[in-house]
């Protein structure tokens, strides 16, 4: 698996670390518990394109929002982002 880092070019996935799905917006502090439960625990877990956060830890250390197909591991896009 190779990830096209916008700063370093296409690099091997071993240079990156992932924290998984790109999280939805964080609920407000006074949001009901169900919203926090959904934010923290529930996942769409799609078989197909999946938005996720990777960091180029052994490169430029940039955080990336990566669109990747979970059926083939093909990376469709990688954009710099703030986690």
């Amino acid at each position: 698996m190779r990830i096209p880092c916008p700063l370093c070019g296409e690099r091997d996935a071993a240079e990156f670390s992932t924290i998984g799905s790109a999280p939805p917006p964080r609920p407000s502090a006074d949001a009901p518990m169900e919203d926090w439960h959904a934010y923290l625990h529930l996942r769409d877990n799609p078989a197909g394109l999946h938005a996720e956060l990777w960091q180029h830890i052994h490169g430029c250390r940039q955080w990336l929002r990566v669109m990747r197909d979970t059926r083939s591991h093909a990376v469709a896009s990688a954009e710099a982002c703030r986690p």
């Binding site: 698996m1 091997d12 996935a13 071993a14 992932t18 924290i19 998984g20 799905s21 518990m33 169900e34 439960h37 959904a38 923290l40 625990h41 529930l42 996942r43 769409d44 877990n45 799609p46 078989a47 999946h50 996720e52 990747r68 979970t70 059926r71 083939s72 591991h73």
Partner: protein
């Protein structure tokens, strides 16, 4: 047909020409009392215990491929019940007891081999943690022994105890743990369920779940609609996909776990060894190949194949532990899709949809749980209530804060 030494002899004398298929290949009926989605270990075990313990034989197991084509044929065949937390220990110990009587129960040779499972520790604090876990196990009636380095050295020749960075300080041994021939578990449960009238529908993929007024009516399949009063899902890595057909969003991520087998060699490891400083578990199959695996790859996947960084990592751990393995070639490598839950523990429960039951979240420890999972899931489906053994494995436990987090890793699926 009952299998026995006498039957073997009789068939041998008649040229092995009269063996019959182990199960039927029936056409789907329009409706069943209960449908189990997923013809893997857990689904087939559920069908067996539904028929045997609860007398519910109007059951179909619906499988998209062939029986046992998923994780029950893709694991490293290890069984153990060395868990720490009260929600887990009795359940896995029940599973171990069912393994011990499995072959008599289903009249099938599953090659249950209680060769022991030895978890190595590499620091004083890790030994303390193992002592604590061993004590918790013994309090719950599970066997556990804490070994020192000399005992480990005597037990496992060829093991590198004297690594400068990660010396082996000892280990926690469960002698009743071991390995089981994984495919035979699927085949044995399938045959036992079929013999009691359960229909095993292979190459039948579920494409929808029909729900009306909050009640399940049956499943849409590639062979048409099949009605059912109760539907149980035991589909491992495909749980999120199938449950979404009934409108459920679950605390599950699908991840790929790789496993490996080496070329066959003479007897080298007569137990199951796990490495505590990296992550590796290794045993030797009866054919002689070393069967081993490590961590999941760490990213969401439905691909049933992984990538090279984990291969590299697992091989490094293997060679660090058994330097002689550096001269072996590995023969095969494969991947399975794990239903990783948010606290690392499974779910066997009802769902908000009346008549729809859920069995998932096995992370990468589902094989050892197969008998108890089927046993408890059958009980939950038959009675509508969880058994005391799976009372902690509720679907709503994350929302209410009753997590069962053996690793203490939090809601980060790829760390469990």
């Amino acid at each position: 047909m009952r299998y026995s030494a006498l039957a073997l002899l009789r068939h041998a004398l008649t040229g092995n020409r009269s063996w019959t298929p182990a199960w039927r290949d029936p056409a789907p009926k329009p409706a069943y009392d209960t449908i189990i989605v997923g013809g893997g270990g857990h689904g087939l075990a559920t069908a067996h215990y539904l028929a045997k313990r609860h007398g519910i034989t109007d059951v179909a197991v619906v499988e998209k491929g062939y029986l046992g084509s998923g994780n029950v044929g893709r694991n490293t065949t290890i069984i153990r019940s060395n868990y720490l937390l009260p929600g887990n220990t009795p359940f896995y110990e029940h599973s171990m007891k069912l393994w011990e009587g499995l072959e008599q129960d289903i009249n099938y040779n599953a090659m249950v081999s209680q060769r022991g499972v030895l978890n190595l520790c590499h620091s004083d604090s890790q030994r303390d943690a193992y002592a604590r876990r061993g004590n918790a196990m013994r309090l719950a009636g599970v066997d556990a022994e804490l070994l020192d380095a000399a005992q480990v050295r005597a037990m496992v020749p060829g093991l590198n105890l004297d690594s400068v960075r990660f010396p082996v300080k000892g280990g926690l041994l469960q002698r009743r743990g071991g390995t089981v021939r994984h495919d035979a578990v699927a085949w044995g449960y399938a045959r036992a369920a079929d013999s009691r009238g359960v229909d095993l529908l292979q190459n039948t993929e579920v494409t929808g779940i029909r729900v009306q007024s909050g009640r399940v009516l049956g499943v849409e399949t590639t062979r048409g609609f099949i009605g059912a009063k109760r539907v149980g899902l035991a589909v491992a890595g495909n749980t999120s996909r199938v449950a979404s057909m009934a409108g459920l969003r679950l605390p599950i991520e699908s991840h790929v776990l790789q496993a490996f087998v080496s070329e066959a060699v003479k007897p080298m490891i007569d137990t199951v060894i796990t490495y505590g400083a990296g992550h590796l578990y290794v045993s030797q199959s009866d054919k002689g190949g070393l069967v081993f695996g490590g961590d999941i790859d760490g990213y969401n996947s439905y691909a049933q194949r992984g990538n090279l960084p984990v291969v590299h990592d697992v091989m490094e751990c293997a060679v660090q532990l058994f330097p002689s393995m550096s001269r072996l070639r590995y023969l095969r490598q494969w991947g399975g899709i794990m239903d990783m839950s948010m606290d690392g523990s499974p779910i066997i429960d009802r769902t908000p949809v009346e008549g729809l039951f859920l069995n998932c979240g096995w992370c990468y420890g589902g094989f050892k749980a197969t008998p108890a999972s089927g046993w408890c899931f059958a009980h939950t489906i038959a009675t509508g209530q969880p058994h005391a053994l799976n009372a902690a494995f509720r679907l709503d436990r994350l929302a209410s804060g009753h997590v069962i987090d053996e690793k203490g890793a939090g809601a980060q699926a790829n760390l469990h």
